[in-house]
Amino acid sequence: MAEIRLEQLAHSYHGNPSKPADYALRHMEHVWEQGGAYALLGPSGCGKSTLLNIISGLLVPSEGRVLYDGKSVNDLSPQQRNIAQVFQFPVVYDTMTVFENLAFPLRNQGHDRDRIDHRVREVAEALEIEPLLSRKAQNLTADEKQKVSMGRGLVRDDVAAILFDEPLTVIDPQLKWRLRRKLKEIHQRFNVTMVYVTHDQLEASTFADKIAVMYQGQIVQFGTPRELFENPQHTFVGYFIGSPGMNLLDITLGSSGVELEGRVLPVEESIVAQLRRGGEGRLQLGIRPEFVQLVASEASTLHGQVDLVQDQGTFKIVDVRLDTPSAAVIKARLGEEQLVPEGRVGLTFPAAWQRFYRDDRLVEIMP
């Protein structure tokens, strides 16, 4: 059990990284506290697995340090770090039985028989694989194998942390949900730090207390699912979290306030003043589809045509094509009971849910 701290960590698969794009991980500072359940969320290729492999010691970072409880472990191998990791695809020892597979990490540490037996049964029970214990691992189905792989990670109770690298990729959706619950239960029961890598926001938010969103080799935001939803610190978080993601509109500061392709948007004077102080850079307005209001066209300065309505069962997604030169599309999410207007509509964005970004970073607005 340990707190894991990343200090000025960076990694490049190139010999001589010269530009930011050469880095798989760009310099980051981060702390995973002891006992937390964390998710590392991001699209494929953003560096999630690289980061995980660096924490476990399978990869040596090109720059910076990894600290367990304040002690640098850069020079320690995964064996010495005493950490567990579960991989995306099941890894089982074919010739061993399920019991032997689960016991393997404990036997390698030289635990005594009774203790091994006890732990293996405890974990097998938690993962519901007790009936398989005497079977050869080779003949299991893919999801049974993955449960065994996860079991090998969970069976050691003295590890610094358990790292999961998209462990439920090969599992059926129904079982996936149950296993996620199981993991959460196990987390609460054993109080061990867990870091769970995924590209699925739902998976991240059901498992984790706090989510780190990664984008282009950086952690762009670390927060609770609610924080990520309500206050995306980066346009990527806005776009990646939520279904559908945040609407992002390019805006300019004109003489009469915030303008969207020449149309003035009703934004409070104090906010416009703060935006003006911020200096140069690309300005964007972000608004979640949940908060976009469709009104009669006379009631707004911004208009568009309803283009497409997707009924998702419990809610509807309405695409509104703006009548501006760029004909950008704004998505609005309406509840099942709300009426969907047809034809030309007006759009308003409640002030409380307007977010402003300068060069993709959130502009903090003081009240």
Partner: protein, 287 residues
């Protein structure tokens, strides 16, 4: 109307003709010979199973068979573990890979009789590197007169010639193991012995099966190299089955007996190969 006719058989016919000429007809000729005392079509006499009974009690043949089993056993016992060790110590990336692949392929490219000749020269105590070195170390080595030395030389020669095959097969098997298995083993704090025992060896099983069968069949049929090196001597110390067979068929022109012998020889190889195959795969389907 049933969509059924026999036209598809015409498509199988070419293969059938090919197999008939390459295997079935020659084999049946041998079966035919084996039940006759035959010299030419006009000089033949039906003897039934007499040749078979005679062969199975012929001490010269039984000696040769025993020798053959011992030889194949030694070949497998040395070449398989050695091949695995060589494969494990080969580089996984960089310039060393093509270099070691070429180096290992070289012995496989040398024709059998050339291998025999090479070792005939290397083994000589006057000008041969191997023979001369052993003798200068004070060992009385002479493969032409000492049965033990002759055996050792034939074995070393085979190891030199064919271990590469096992090593290359194992190397390809090792390369196909995904990295994640090694990573998981490191996380599980497995020792390098455990990695070999529980990851590499099980994953090598299929290539090892091929290696064991190929090396068994080849070594069981070995002819050219010992024939060139020792001519089967000293005495009959290195006279293996195929040489005995050749002597019988071509030396004595004893076609009926040789035919019966060939069939028994063939069945032994088939049987042993089947036993290997069954033994190495019988666990696969168990729960």
């Amino acid at each position: 109307m049933k969509p059924y006719n026999n036209k598809a058989w015409w498509l199988v016919l070419p293969v059938f003709v090919l197999v008939a000429f390459s295997a079935i007809i020659p084999m049946m000729t041998v079966v035919n010979y084996s039940v006759q005392d035959i010299f030419d079509p006009s000089t033949r006499y039906f003897v039934g199973t007499e040749w078979y009974r005679e062969i199975l009690t012929d001490p010269r043949l039984l000696d040769s068979l025993m020798r053959q089993f011992v030889y194949s056993f030694c070949v497998l016992a040395i070449e398989v573990p050695l091949g695995i060790i060589v494969a494990l110590s080969m580089p996984r990336r960089g310039l060393g890979v093509p270099f070691s692949l070429i180096l290992l392929s070289l012995p496989l490219l040398v024709p059998w009789n050339v291998v025999g000749t090479i070792w005939q020269i290397i083994g000589r105590e006057d000008i041969g590197l191997y023979g001369w070195t052993l003798n200068s170390l004070g060992l009385d080595y002479n493969y032409a007169s000492n049965p033990r030395d002759a055996w050792a030389t034939v074995l070393v020669m085979d190891v030199w010639h064919w271990t590469s095959l096992v090593a290359l097969l194992c190397y390809s098997g090792l390369r196909s193991i995904p990295d994640v298995y090694y990573q998981a083993a490191r996380i599980d704090r497995a020792s390098s012995w455990a990695v070999f025992r529980y990851i590499q060896l099980p994953k090598l099983k299929n290539v090892l099966l091929i290696a064991v069968m190929l090396r068994f069949m080849d070594s069981f049929m070995i002819y050219t190299e010992p024939f060139v090196l020792t001519g089967g001597g000293p005495g009959t110390a290195t006279t293996f089955l195929s040489q005995t067979l050749t002597q019988m068929a071509l030396g004595q022109f004893d076609l009926g007996r040789a035919a019966a012998f060939s069939l028994i020889y063939f069945l032994i190889i088939l049987l042993v190969t089947w036993v290997f195959y069954t033994a190495m795969t019988h666990n696969d389907n168990k729960g």
